[in-house]
Symmetry: C2
Subunit: 80 residues, 2 copies
């Protein structure tokens, strides 16, 4: 069972890394860039679990380790 | 125009950060985790471009700044 967890900053949370990338892109001549926000992605492989069990386990992983839920949102996509 | 760029390590490239997360998840009792690979996601907002122009610009951004194409793959999703 494969899963992808995408962790992004909540709206309103300052993202200095994203701002630095935005500045660099403008410096390279990409003038149409209005905003950049950076997040993280985790590609997980889980052994022998049903999709429902996997979703429950991954939600716990996000709450405990993968995301800081005070400032970050997470989304879980499960494939086969 | 919004776009999401997902940058992931190519297969075979060592991912010590992913291995550390895998170890931590196992330490927390998630024994079913077989593999973790970490990547990056960039949420971009672009001013006034058609979807085709945006795709061309974002591909150039990936090649020049957002991804290290020696060791990383990138995927671009464009929405409205």
């Amino acid at each position: 069972m494969k899963a992808r967890v995408t962790v992004t900053l909540k709206a309103g949370v300052l993202d200095p890394q994203g701002q630095a990338i935005e500045g660099s892109l403008k410096g390279l001549g990409f003038s149409g860039v209005a905003s950049v926000r950076q997040g993280k992605v985790f590609d997980l492989v889980l052994d022998g679990a049903s999709e429902e069990e996997a979703r429950i386990a991954i939600t716990q992983m996000c709450e405990k380790l993968l995301a800081n839920t005070v400032i970050e949102n997470y989304a879980v996509e499960i494939s086969n």
